[in-house]
């Protein structure tokens, strides 16, 4: 049953992306026009890759967390903190690599904190990560002292706005990260362990899986991804904005993961599909912008999209008239 659904869900994401891109193309015929200029590609489609990168990076980490039946609400706030760390260190005169490493270390530490709350103190993931979500932005403002810290360090700016083989650096980072993490979970047993924890943590522990360590790892990875996204976003705007960097991006990342077919009830997950989900969201955003609709429509379209996915994933789509399996599902979700 599960394998069947996985195969059925493997394709809708690609179809959806193609569909959204096709609608964009209809509304804005030059959508796919890509020009080569100053040693890099330009065009609306390249813009989708570039703008979608931060959410895609977040979604990579979020997929692991959601696969263990958790959720990480703090990634947006961690982005703000890490962007603030990188920016203030560069402004204080440290070389860019050290600033980036420090930012990543802070992100990792934030992730480990979340992991500690969830794995060791056994706190519900929503609540555990809520702590950092609320406090994180305050910490970021503490670091930047309430102002927007701007910087001119060329190597740090390159991370956000540079290009590699003509492709925007942010997109390249997202793809490399996606490949690395996918290899890590699929070429080793880690992915299987994560799924086992998501399906039934107690059973997984009894089967000899170090569920505490793995949960710490998963949240640490999410924190690290948030740090990378935070540095990319800060480098993109050449400044760290503690109030707005990564604001509500945690919701976009969760949405991307869900669009990618990962179940919020834990278990089955796919990192490339989550990245595809992030691209679908961004393709819609860009499409709405280039076709001249006010950006406010974004939220409504996103809401419509969530409802559509819920309908597709609901037990009723598969079992139209049976009620008993639905009732047992509910107990797993509460």
């Amino acid at each position: 049953m599960r394998r069947l659904r996985l195969e059925r869900l493997a394709n809708p994401q690609l179809l959806a992306l193609v569909g959204v891109l096709a609608i964009n193309w209809l509304l804005f015929p030059s959508f796919f026009n890509v020009t080569w200029q100053d040693g890099r590609f330009f065009g609306s489609f390249i813009d989708v890759l570039n703008r979608g990168a931060p959410v895609a990076i977040l979604a990579i980490g979020m997929t692991g967390v959601i696969a263990t039946k958790g959720v990480d609400l703090s990634v947006g706030a961690i982005m703000a903190v890490c962007g603030a760390v990188a920016a203030t260190m560069v402004v204080a005169g440290y070389p860019a690599p050290i600033a980036v490493i420090a930012a990543l270390a802070v992100g990792l530490a934030c992730g480990l904190w979340n992991g500690f709350l969830v794995a060791v103190l056994d706190i519900q993931p929503i609540v555990a990560t809520l702590v950092l979500m609320v406090a994180g932005r305050g910490i970021a403002q503490l670091i930047t002292e309430g102002s927007i810290v701007t910087f001119n360090d060329p190597s740090l700016i390159f991370v956000g706005t540079g290009s590699f083989l003509g492709f925007p650096m942010a997109a390249v980072i997202a793809v490399v990260l996606m490949v690395l993490v996918t290899l890590l979970v699929r070429r080793t047993a880690i992915g299987l362990f994560i799924q086992a924890i998501g399906v039934n943590r107690a059973a997984a522990s009894l089967a000899g899986i170090h569920s505490r360590m793995l949960l710490m790892l998963v949240y640490a990875l999410s924190g690290l991804c948030a740090a990378i996204a935070g540095v990319v976003v800060a480098a993109d705007i050449r400044g760290a904005d503690a109030n707005n960097a990564g604001l509500w991006l945690e919701l976009d990342a969760i949405l991307a993961v869900v669009i990618g077919g990962t179940s919020l009830l834990g278990g089955r997950f796919s990192i490339p599909m989550a990245v595809l989900g992030a691209l679908i969201i961004q393709a819609m955003n860009t499409g709405i912008l280039v076709s001249g609709f006010p950006p406010e429509f974004n939220l409504v379209v996103k809401a419509g999209m969530i409802i559509l996915i819920l309908l597709l994933q609901s037990p009723y789509a598969a079992l139209p008239f049976k009620r008993r399996p639905a009732a047992s599902n509910k107990s797993a979700s509460s």
Binding site: V134, G138, L142
Partner: protein, 325 residues
């Protein structure tokens, strides 16, 4: 019963100690004026938090609260200022719209078996987006009725004022407490949060109760939106962004367990007051920046979550252990 009241007592004691410490430093904080402003400034948050308490006791979460507040403000402003409808009629329309909205969310959560988190996330996008589509600017509300309501207050000895919206919040809290502890609906909510399967086996109408819970939350959010529009005399689509987080924080600090099945409406009141105290203290101090509010609330949240864990581990071994997710 005594034992189960411990988290509530802990919150109340911490509030009293915190308030006493604040008063020691700034004697002026102990005045009816400050207390009256506590109620007025946090009225919309408190009303929204009552609805959130019910949702959380039932084991769910409602992320759409802030967006519904924003949407209600815009709707009322548009109805009264642009269309010239009397505010009372506009209030009724807004409450009705919100009730339908909440019912739709509850319906989706129950019948599609989806986590409330994701459904109310969609609701949040929908309400916020809908408000932004109606207008992107702040629409002022100028109506005699608003001025009348604004002047309606009880003067307390010592220069304090208990405003209409402050009184409304107290009424909502008392009503919420009665609803939670003295009605059938209230016990259904607790039963659902404890274990929805057992609840349905015992004959709790799960579908109806779920729909009613989210209806209640959205309706109270709309009432909070009305209060917010009375407070600011305007409707703005980006108003009250993030209020759902404050409401959740207040509920948790008030001793309600996020796993559901356990909590107090009056605890939420103490939670809201504690958040208000943090803000007031930072304003009184003057040297602390506003971002300390967020950090302190985060630290408080953490402390209370750990406190709950400790109390539950100590007092009720084997009872509803916070779930291993």
């Amino acid at each position: 019963m005594k034992r189960s009241l411990r988290p509530l007592a802990a919150t109340a004691v911490i509030f009293i100690i915190a308030y006493a410490l604040a008063v020691l430093q700034f004697p002026n904080m102990l005045s009816t004026r400050v207390l009256g402003n506590f109620l007025t400034d946090n009225a919309f948050l408190g009303i929204a938090a009552v609805g959130m308490t019910f949702v959380i006791i039932s084991g769910g979460i409602d992320l759409s609260v802030g967006a519904v507040i924003g949407f209600t403000g815009v709707l009322i402003a548009v109805l009264t200022t642009w269309l010239g409808i009397h505010p009372l009629v506009a209030f009724a329309i807004a409450l009705g719209v919100a009730a339908l909205f909440g019912a739709a969310m509850g319906f989706t959560i129950h019948y599609l078996q989806v986590p409330s988190f994701i459904v109310t996330l969609a609701g949040m996008f929908l309400a916020r987006g809908g408000a932004s589509i109606i207008t992107q600017d702040s629409v002022p509300i100028k109506h005699e009725f608003y001025a009348t309501l604004g002047d309606l207050m009880i003067r307390l000895p010592g220069g304090g004022r208990l405003s209409f919206i402050g009184m409304l919040m107290i009424v909502v809290f008392l009503g919420g407490a009665l609803l939670a502890h003295r009605t059938k609906f209230g016990s259904y909510v607790y039963a659902l949060g404890g274990n929805s399967v057992s609840a349905s086996l015992m004959g709790v109408p799960v579908a109806r109760t779920t729909v009613q819970i989210y209806m209640l939350s959205s309706t109270l959010a709309a009432l909070a939106g009305i209060v917010f529009s009375l407070y600011t005399s305007a409707g703005y689509p980006l108003a009250a962004v993030g209020v759902e987080l404050d409401a959740i924080s207040a509920v948790v600090i008030g001793g309600t367990l996020l796993t559901g099945g356990y909590g107090f409406v009056l605890g939420t009141f103490v939670g809201v007051m504690l958040l208000g105290l943090v803000q007031t203290y930072i304003i009184f101090d003057g040297t602390l920046s506003s971002w300390w509010t967020k950090i302190v609330i985060g630290v408080l949240l953490f402390l209370f979550i750990v406190l709950q864990r400790v109390i539950f581990a100590a007092s009720a071994p084997g009872e509803k252990s916070p779930e291993k997710v």
